[in-house]
């Protein structure tokens, strides 16, 4: 049934899904720029400066889009989810306000200095500004994931007249799923950025452009991936075990496991049928599910039938999105290994086939982030605060279906325009390449007498 609730859910999913793409890129990129600024500050090697100036242009564009699409988010809680706001604000409100006070102001305050201040402040201060922007993005990740995690694994509160009231802030902030979600997401953001960096390097290497810069980018990216991709596999496993302990219904949906049983198989493919409470076309590895989730073939894993039908999450979406995320993880692991081999052989710049793969893999981090987000958020349903507040009880009571239809339409059109243009401009910045080189693209914007001073255009 199409009602204000369903349309509000679609609207929230739309605005948050597009927004999350930007932090998925800028959190890692801010740290990368800080590293490049640091490398230049201490080594004075011009390649680091050129790299930092190049990535700053992409960062300025992405960060600006992240800011404006991010402002939309807290207001969604008021416009469409006012019952949620009324009932949970005592707990999540301070967490979000701390995000603004500790992260947003820090980022915004130093961003101007980072983008426009290279000639206005001493080199050390400029480097410091780069670090502060990077730290700001990480602090922001900390608070927003703490709030999100509390909705997944709510503890430390009391319920007074239906409202969530804080009792123990340490338990609320460091709720059971938070450390795992924070680690998993931050590492995912770094990996996403690194594969973009590696992919952009590959784009140039295949055209024999900017060889020194590109090889430096790829080595920095691959070096980081050598640590982070295997680490992510380990963190992901811990995160799954944590979900099994605190949100077993989510894991049952992710595994499309209907029966509570030992020797649970691992489904490689299936077509979950929510109404019939079973799967079609199963392709399974016997016992592996119990082995992964319980670290023993005899481990008993709860199935979906443990819960009443109205308390079960939708199965198909988390089931497929989880497999997509894990599949991408495997691809990334293989690409990282191939890259390290090429690096060791000294053939990075000439490995054409590998570079082509790197270009294809570059956007996969974003797909994995979205897939992971779908897994965890859809897997939490039908609850907005797990086990305690249903999504359908969180929507704004005064909202009319027509209101949300109009606003959803406007958000969809506006975001397609803005994100489409943003992606196109990012691609153009990549094509234009490094400034001060002889090979600016013919269609690159011609410098005007009053050279525009935006961060995207003049961080050189």
């Amino acid at each position: 049934m199409v009602d204000a609730l369903l349309l509000s859910r679609i609207q929230f999913a739309w605005v948050v899904a597009l927004h999350i793409l930007l932090p998925a890129f800028t959190v890692g990129l801010a740290s990368y720029i800080a590293v490049l600024e640091g490398a230049y500050f201490y080594s004075r090697r011009p390649v680091f400066l050129r790299l930092s100036q190049f990535w700053l242009r992409l960062f300025a564009l992405s960060f600006g889009m992240g800011v404006v699409s991010g402002i939309v988010m807290p207001f969604q809680f008021g416009t469409n989810w006012s019952r949620y706001s009324d009932l949970t604000a005592d707990v999540v409100g301070p967490l979000m306000t701390y995000e603004v006070l500790t992260a947003f102001f820090l980022e915004a305050g130093f961003l101007g200095v980072l983008l426009f201040g290279r000639k206005r402040v001493p080199a050390g201060v400029h480097f410091f500004a780069a670090i502060m922007v990077a730290v700001g993005t990480l602090i922001s990740t900390f608070w927003i994931l703490s709030a999100n995690s509390w909705m997944q694994t709510p503890v430390g509160h009391a319920i007074v007249e239906g409202r969530f009231v804080p009792e123990d802030w340490m338990r609320i902030v460091f709720n059971p799923s938070f450390p795992y979600r924070l680690a998993h997401t931050t590492v995912a953001f770094y990996i996403t950025t690194a594969f973009v960096v590696i992919g952009v390097g590959a784009y140039y290497l295949r055209r024999d452009r900017h060889v020194e810069e590109s090889v430096t980018m790829q080595k920095m990216g691959l070096g980081l991936m050598a640590i982070l991709v295997p680490l992510q596999v380990y963190i992901g496993d811990l995160h799954g075990l944590n979900s099994l302990e605190h949100q077993p219904a989510k894991i049952a949906a992710v595994e499309a496991n209907w029966e509570t049983r030992p020797r649970m198989p691992l489904l490689l493919f299936a077509w979950p049928d929510q109404a019939a409470e079973r799967n079609h076309f199963e392709v399974a590895v016997p016992n592996l599910g119990s082995l992964i989730l319980g670290h023993s073939v005899d481990a008993v894993i709860p199935g979906l039938k443990e819960w009443k039908p109205e308390d079960r999450p939708p199965v198909a979406l988390p089931f497929f999105s989880f497999r997509l995320m894990v599949g991408i993880g495997v691809v990334m692991l293989l690409v990282t290994i191939a890259g390290l081999v090429a690096w060791r052989r000294g053939t990075l710049a000439s490995a054409r086939g590998f570079q082509r793969v790197c270009i294809w893999v570059a956007p996969l981090g974003f797909v994995a982030v979205l897939a992971g987000w779908v897994t965890t958020e859809v897997g939490r349903q039908p609850w907005v605060v797990y086990g305690l507040l249903r999504t359908r009880d969180a929507v704004t009571p005064s909202l009319q279906t027509g209101d949300v239809a109009v606003s959803l339409f406007i958000y969809v059109v506006a975001y397609i325009l803005i994100f489409g243009a943003g992606l196109y401009f990012l691609a153009r910045l990549v094509r234009a390449g490094f400034r001060g080189e002889a090979e600016l693209e013919p269609d690159a914007p011609a410098p005007t007498p009053a050279r525009p001073l935006s961060g995207a255009s003049r961080a050189d």
Binding site: V72, S82, L101, G109, L111, G112, P397, P445
Partner: protein, 333 residues
Amino acid sequence: MALDLVPLWAAILAFGVFMYVLLDGFDLGVGMLFPFAPDDASRDLMMNSVAPIWDFNETWLVLGGVGLLAAFPLAFAIVVPAVYFPILFMLIGLIFRGVAFEFRHISHSRRHWDRSFFAGSLVATFAQGIVLGTFVQGIPVEGRAYSGGSLGWLTPFAVLTGAGLIAGYGLLGACWLVFKTEGELQQWARRKARQFTIGVAAFVAMISVWTPLIEPQVRERWFGGENPFWLWPVPIVTFALFAWLWRSLARDTHAKPFIAAMGIVAMAYLGLAISIFPMVVPYTFDLWQSAASAKSQAFLMIGTLFLLPIVLGYTVYSYWVFRGKVKAGGGYH
């Protein structure tokens, strides 16, 4: 019983929203003046005068939003749904305004993003004025939720406050340009500032007369008992600021008109606060009825008292780094 933090929270939030109105006010004002500038070189200078700080200025809006959510959640849960569409238009306007800073320099069709910068600023400002007007008029409530219709905000008074805010932000923007530019552009900004001064004076007068007429609480607050004796300095100081603004616009080449304009905005804001206090969902729930639990307010207060001075420190620092007149071509080289 723990210390009552409600008045302090009200003061902090009022301060945060005031910072937003002042700072993004002049940004949005510059955006609304943008297409009328003498030439493209002036437009580049106007853009450059706000480019390094707009993002920081807009952060105060986020603080206002989530601060209201955290400290007075009931108000957030009632007021925001009441202005569903104005909030939507504001957010969409801010998006099209914000991306234009970067997009216009990369795009081949710069005109397109110049229009986006202007229209986004105008729509966002008008929508914020509508929110203000809806708030002052009072919000129908049933239980703990908004009980009005989808277009309950669409009233003549709200349209008036919407137009008034356009004039107010326009004045701030024009005075900012007098402060930050020189030569022909400054002369142009000076003329615009004078026009906006007349506009703002007219809107302040209309809103000051209209508000007590439609709202008994506001009438009682300003004219009841011995209140007029205590409140007469508000209109007098406002009038004096207008006079100072007018004189300084005739000759000052620096910050005086901007300071005077900020003073006028501050007085209008103060007048509004006097009218509404202690209501935060006018005219149903006051600050105390809407407040979050004492534990929530206390937890957030500890950090805020420590962080807010630091944030103000960054504000001063980032404005100081980009101090002085914006120069053509090499403003920030």
